[in-house]
């Protein structure tokens, strides 16, 4: 074989090798793109799941805040019950009639 032929074979070999590597790189890139698509879908699903969980948490927080208000109101009512009772006690102690006292006793018994 002549030197020119050898040279051409050599150039062709290099070119073939480069083409194979280029194809391999293309395959790697495609694989990476597919992986990225899969990853994006998984991330989207995951974030949607988190959003749904947070949506479920909102009414619970509202419920806790509402019960906090109820407890404050109840404490106020207890205070009012005591104040009302004191008024009644003073009224009873000031009563100057057996009849009225007896009537009150019957009511409370």
């Amino acid at each position: 074989m002549s030197a020119t032929a050898n040279l051409l074979i050599g150039i062709a070999s290099c070119g073939s090798l480069a083409a194979i590597v280029y194809m391999f790189m293309g395959f790697m890139n495609k694989k990476s793109d597919n992986r990225e698509t899969g990853h994006s879908i998984l991330q989207k699903i995951g974030l949607e799941k988190i959003t749904k969980i947070e949506e479920k948490q909102v009414p619970i927080i509202k419920k806790i805040e509402e019960s906090e208000l109820i407890s404050v109101e109840t404490k106020k009512e207890i205070k009012e019950v005591k104040e009302e009772a004191n008024k009644k006690i003073i009224e009873i102690l000031k009563t100057e009639s057996f009849e009225e006292l007896s009537k009150r006793e019957d009511e409370l018994w």
Partner: protein
């Protein structure tokens, strides 16, 4: 002109290569703030307590006796009788307070149950975030590995081609 275009293209390629991708901004966490609940104490000190009633003991002939063991009946003045009625009123008040306290306790039980539910959801959320993190970390590692391998193959093949070309050049000469 050609030189200018070449310089602009080189500069543009530097900018494209040098530019970092847009930073990832994480989702803002759910903000919740609860004030601590103060301890509850039953305060009955506000209710007026009358003095101990003064009792007048009388025997079967309604004569006043000093000792209760000799007495048959108890005599109460209007003022002392009122003190007994007051005790009934206090009993009634306690009953009302107990009902209110039952409401209060049940409210706190509701709060505890809600918080338990909230914690369960928070745990589910934490697991979901962890899954996302694991997925991202695995994707990053895979990408890094592929990049490393790709670089290695690239360098190897470029080296082989360069070497081959050099040998061919020497042979040709």
């Amino acid at each position: 002109m050609v030189k200018g275009i070449a310089i602009i293209l080189i500069l543009l390629s530097f900018i494209v290569v040098g530019c970092a991708p847009a930073p990832f901004i994480a989702k803002e966490p759910f903000q919740v703030k609860f004030d601590p609940t103060l301890k509850y104490e039953v305060d009955l000190s506000g209710i007026i307590q009358p003095d101990k009633p003064v009792k007048i003991w009388v025997d079967e002939n309604f004569n006043v006796v000093a000792d209760a063991k000799d007495a048959k009946y108890l005599l109460l003045t209007q003022k002392e009788y009122a003190k007994y009625v007051v005790q009934l009123q206090i009993k009634e008040t306690y009953k009302e307070i107990i009902i209110q306290q039952e409401i209060l306790i049940n409210t706190y039980i509701d709060q505890i149950n809600s918080l338990k539910e909230y914690i369960a959801l928070e745990q589910a959320k934490s697991k979901a975030y962890r899954d996302l993190w694991v997925d991202s970390e695995n994707a990053y590692r895979q990408e890094r590995y592929d990049h490393k391998m790709s670089n290695l193959i690239n360098k190897g093949v470029t080296g082989a081609i360069s070497l081959g070309a050099l040998i061919l050049l020497i042979l040709a000469l």
